[in-house]
Amino acid sequence: MAGKEAQRLKRERIIEENGIIFLDNVSKSYSSGSPALNGVSLSIGRGEFVFIVGDSGSGKSTLIKLLLRELTATSGSVYVMGNDLAKLKHRQIPRFRRNLGVVFQDFRLLNDRNVYENVAFAQRIVETPVSEIRRNVPAILATVGLAGKYKAKTKQLSGGEQQRVALARALVNNPSVLLADEPTGNLDPNNSWEIMKLLEEINESGTTVVVVTHNREIVNAMQKRVITMKKGVIISDEEKGGYIDED
């Protein structure tokens, strides 16, 4: 018990000193070709809203995979929520991810289950009592505007609605950090704006939000911190920045 408390305090100290996401000179190389990330260092504070932008091959996806601990860095250190991801054992990964909401471009919903079950699944994983699941899931579905569709199969929903379900699933366990990998990539402009508004609301409630996107219009309009990547390195990091045209 004392050991766990000491670990928690250590993580808190790391977050206070370096931010909730902290990369120190991180490189990632695959077996062939040039490195996907090359000496990347960045720090994202608790409660920030950050866009990560860049063309294909800039290293954005690799960065997200490192933050999810799907990959490990070839060199350098990656800290998320005070956890040194290089030291995280395989059996510790699930617990780490439970504090990390994640949304993908292709929604990644369980298509054989309905909306309610998709969201409830995230709660079942953390062994939330059934009575609480019955309370929490309708509440979060109401937050994302899907209160009336909890029985629908995900395939019956529009792209925007499916992304809302994914958002609800990511948020239902109250994560400290929400990672969104091209969340508007498959959506029309109206739905894209709806999702971005939701992300902003989530951020305002205290969750750190990191959005990887190509959507120039949204990035320019929202006036948030923008980190621009190119060929595996960060070429720009601006508070209230905009989308940098590389041409």
């Binding site: 699930p94 994983i125 062994e127 990511a170």
Partner: protein, 312 residues
């Protein structure tokens, strides 16, 4: 420690997966059923062949004749005449041998009572004033393993009191050769059938899970433990294996009973000398093996396949 509600949820998901992926479930059950049906069918036939051979082997006997006062007849040779006690001792020695399943003593009077009327008819047999077989006490020996007949005969012939040993070398050799052939061939085919079944079933399970690797990835991304992801798949694999084994067992049970009744009723002559196994005797082996293969491969196949997709 897992909560009881989580355990129930996992079990429920295992059952639900079968219905969610009904086409995959049906295809898997069909594959498993087809493999185990062929295996069961072949086993039933082979088991009956072996049983018929075993029955035939059990009928093969060796008859031992002893020296007696009648040895001065021209067809007889002289030798040591056994006392009644010695005859009994020899009988006990024979019975103690491993290859012997049964020893039956037949006195000369018993022999005449049996063969006299058979050979000469009731009336003529009564015409003999004395037992023409006097002194011809015999042991009829039944073997548990006909391939050992030669060894037994050699040993019997070495006993000084033994005058003659009647046996059929050809019958014993044919039966033991046939038995060996059927044992090797059936063993080979059963091993091949089992290997093909294991390969097909584990592949079916693997393909069924691989097409759902995305689902496993999603679970892992949102923080599911390996156990939480794996348990429903493993339960699903075992259930599919169980149903896949139960279907052919049921089919073979009905078919076997039908075939047995048909042969026995239609070919009464056959049933006189061919001893078929009862359905219970066949299923005594077939049930645990089929269920073991179905459930076991469902279990092991799903565990190993899910493991491949867990490293996300």
């Amino acid at each position: 420690m897992m909560k009881i509600s989580t355990l129930f949820y996992t079990i429920k998901q295992g059952f639900a997966n079968i219905f969610r992926n009904k086409w995959y479930s049906l295809a898997s059950i069909a594959t498993i059923s087809a493999c185990l049906f062929l295996f069961g069918l072949f086993y039933s036939i082979v088991a009956n062949f072996q049983n018929i051979l075993k029955t035939a082997e059990e009928g093969v006997s060796v008859t031992v004749f002893f020296h007696s006062e009648m040895d001065n007849c021209e067809s007889h040779t002289e030798g040591q005449i056994p006392s009644e006690q010695r005859l009994e001792e020899i009988g006990q020695e024979i019975a103690r041998r491993a290859e012997v399943s049964e020893v039956q003593f037949q006195s000369a009077d018993e022999a005449w009572a049996t063969f006299g009327p058979d050979y000469f008819g009731e009336d003529y047999a009564e015409g003999f004033p004395e037992n023409p077989l006097a002194g011809e006490d015999t042991y009829e020996i039944f073997l548990s393993d006909v391939s050992m007949q030669d060894a037994l005969v050699t040993w019997l012939q070495s006993i000084p009191e033994v005058r003659k040993v009647n046996y059929s070398e050809m019958t014993a050799n044919t039966l033991s050769g046939l038995n060996l052939l059927i044992a090797y061939v059936s063993m080979g085919i059963i091993v091949i059938l089992l290997a093909v079944s294991i390969f097909l079933i584990s592949n079916t399970v693997a393909i069924g899970i691989s097409v759902r690797s995305e689902e496993i990835n999603i679970m892992k991304y949102i923080g599911a433990t390996d156990f939480f992801v794996r348990a429903p798949f493993v339960l699903e694999g075992m259930l599919i294996g169980l149903i896949g084994a139960a279907v052919p067992l049921g089919l073979i049970y009905s078919l076997y009973n039908y075939a047995l009744n048909y042969v026995v009723n239609r070919f009464m002559v056959l049933s006189g000398f061919l001893n078929f196994l009862s359905v219970d005797e066949v299923f005594h082996f077939l049930t645990p093996v089929s269920l073991g293969v179905g459930v076991g491969i469902g279990f092991l196949g799903s565990i190993s396949t899910v493991r491949k997709h867990l490293h996300v």
